[in-house]
Subunit: 191 residues, 2 copies
DNA sequence: GTCTATAAATGGATAGAC
DNA sequence: GTCTATCCATTTATAGAC
């Protein structure tokens, strides 16, 4: 019902995002989109003339998703650990049934063949996410909840890496490996 | 000179491994191989009738590489930290010029479209690598060099994840992020 | 906005000559 | 083992009618 209300452009981006996370940018086609949406390839080219245009739209969709998720996490009541859990659950939300990975991981994997125009957007999105996690970790450190040595920024990348990597491994080894990895990360940060 | 001595099959696998690490399994073609080797596509099909066959050969090449690298690391004189550095340098070796990632990361990213026959091989290689790192970490823990809470296996996956993830990020953000991440990982394990 | 039709290029794969 | 030639499906993309 809710999906029907979305306009075509949003429908296309939404489905493309799904395929990006399960197959990668170079491994889904306008044909895949047209089949699942029940319209022709030409119609999709009407909305996104080149695949690069669709790619840019995907980056924008990820940015919007980031804003919403980050804001939700910032406003989440409770400790830093609970906020981090909130972010991790956001990670998990894209991993329905161990099939999806982080869309940014997917784009990174395809960096060698990605349209040029998408690269700056990808870098920007990565940085934005790292800034956000660094902010959270710093709060936790100052409140005495988290204990870790070394630069906050380095710890942030390690944390984000763990989430995304665990998601990738889950597709091959099952969901348990995700929980194990996240628990270990928390153990290191609290101990 | 040394390359000239290799037979065709090895030349093909060697080049394919390179392309796997820079572009991904689904994003290089027999045409790419033929162009760079100066022989026709048909000749490559003679050695590897289906791309799946080439994929299996790639998995085997990675296994051989693992054996060599793990053995070198086990025999590396010195502390556990120095052995881990040896493994990390092995990681770096495939990242000439920030362009290559771990071949297993690359295969994981393409898991959605990978030929069925390659999946068990991929899982086996992942497990083999995790077992090896867990062995190293446990030695370090018992000798008192490393201090970390939680299951060794979980710490092993976290360590491997950090190496591979940092390699992926390096392609987008530059090599510095790799060193920063590895230093942070060491900081957490020693502190 | 959606369709039919079509183009041009590419990718995986095979047959058969040398 | 390598080649030429060819096949068929797919992919990105465009033109033009409705």
């Amino acid at each position: 019902m809710q999906i029907r209300l979305k306009n075509r452009k949003e429908q296309i981006v939404s489905l493309a995002l799904d395929l990006l996370q399960t197959r990668g940018f170079e491994n889904f086609s306008y044909q895949d989109l047209s089949r699942e949406l029940g319209i022709t390839k030409a119609s999709i080219h009407h909305h996104f003339p080149k695949k690069e245009d669709l790619g840019i739209a995907l980056c924008h969709a990820i940015e919007v998703w980031h804003e919403r998720e980050f804001s939700k996490t910032r406003n989440h009541p409770g400790s830093t650990i609970e906020k981090l859990d909130c972010y991790v659950n956001g990670c998990l939300r894209y991993a329905c049934g161990d099939k999806k990975i982080c869309p940014l991981s997917s784009l990174q994997a395809d960096i060698g063949t990605l349209p040029e125009a998408m690269r700056p957007a990808l870098k920007r999105l990565d940085d934005h996410e790292l800034d956000f996690i660094a902010e959270l970790l710093e709060q936790g450190q100052q409140s005495g909840e988290l204990k870790f040595a070394g630069p906050v920024r380095s710890q942030a990348i390690l944390f984000v890496l763990a989430c995304k990597g665990a998601l990738q491994y889950s597709r091959v080894h099952g969901r348990q490996i995700f929980d194990d990895t996240m628990n270990q990360m928390k153990t290191l940060l609290i101990a």
